[in-house]
Symmetry: C2
Subunit: 204 residues, 2 copies
């Protein structure tokens, strides 16, 4: 279902449990909106034309000295260039620790049998036409995902704090190829599957 | 200095601010020892002969549901296969959030001017003879690195808790190519630069 999307004015809707890929030019703003609340969107990105340069959780967290990135924070590439800057964030809680949900995750963590839609599959299928291989997709910026780290290091996935209509805006700081999903994992969106909306806005 | 190492019995010493790379066969045990205390060793690994399969912080943390991995915990690849299992851990505090220190890190975080030795450079130089490119090196397992996450998400690098002679043992669960460093960053080893020792032990 990753290729299915329906345009409503300038907003594109990503149906539940699916994903898309698109180019974003330097200066353009990507607005990612949770139209119904409590849904997660996994974002990954490459420098357009230079796919060895890709989004890096480890570098972004290191340079920000915090795991929760929000308004004003840059998202870095693996070679320490700024790929995005968060311009506005109405939610303030996103995860940058966990990899996108995958077939193997559902089997390992939840003993799921048979095929399960996943952000990882939706990302690599959507990004394949851009010449990107699955192993090039690392830890995603998990928009609206609410992951809490206890003092002993225990990680818990909580219901997103996003309410219907809230959004985050990220400005591209270089030409990018982006993959974006509406998350397929029951436990990251409080047991429901919902769409994600996104919009590409000219720089301002 | 990454290629310089001196053998003492079966123990190989990695001089301060340098790195090595080596093969580890499935079943072999890698013992990483902090000979003087309060030093960090960055570890990264690929499946031998299949470099698209590499160490994944995001998958390992997700499947363990914790950020601090220790005795008994597996370390996963990006395609969700077990690469290592921690057999023994005398320290109990290692970081899996931050990327290896790099030239750019010293410039961005510490305004350093001129060349600075770094784990990232030491890793990619040591791994280059195995056909591995710099961009294939992701977030390392930062042995003995003491990174604390506050409830608000703030990340602080503290002095390692490792005392002289303490070690961790990891068993290879597949044939691997490993890169390993003695860390070059002042702030991760309490202001000093020290060696790291390692030993490859036949399976038991």
């Amino acid at each position: 279902m990753h290729e299915v999307s329906s345009a409503v004015s300038n907003i594109t809707r990503i149906p539940p449990q699916s994903g898309v890929a698109f180019r974003l030019r330097a200066g353009e703003i990507l607005r990612i909106c949770d139209p119904m609340g409590e849904q997660v969107a996994d974002l990954f990105a490459f420098k357009d034309g230079e796919h060895a340069c890709s989004l890096s959780s480890g570098r972004s967290i290191d340079y920000a000295s915090k795991i929760y990135l929000s308004t004003g924070d840059p998202l870095y590439s693996n070679d320490s260039r700024v790929m995005f800057r968060i311009l506005e964030d109405q939610v303030g809680r996103h995860d940058f620790l966990l990899t996108p949900c995958s077939q193997e995750m559902f089997e390992i963590l939840y003993k799921h049998q048979g095929h399960h839609p996943s952000c990882f599959e939706n990302l690599y299928r959507a990004l394949a036409p851009f010449g990107i291989r699955p192993e090039q997709i690392g830890t995603t910026f998990n928009v609206f995902m609410n992951v809490v780290v206890a003092p002993d290091g225990t990680v818990a996935v909580k219901a997103p704090t996003s309410r219907a209509g809230q959004y985050i805006e990220l400005r591209a700081e270089m030409d990018l190829v982006c993959g974006l999903t509406s998350c397929s994992a029951e436990n990251s969106n409080n047991g429901s599957f919902k769409p994600i909306d996104y919009e590409i806005i000219s720089g301002r």
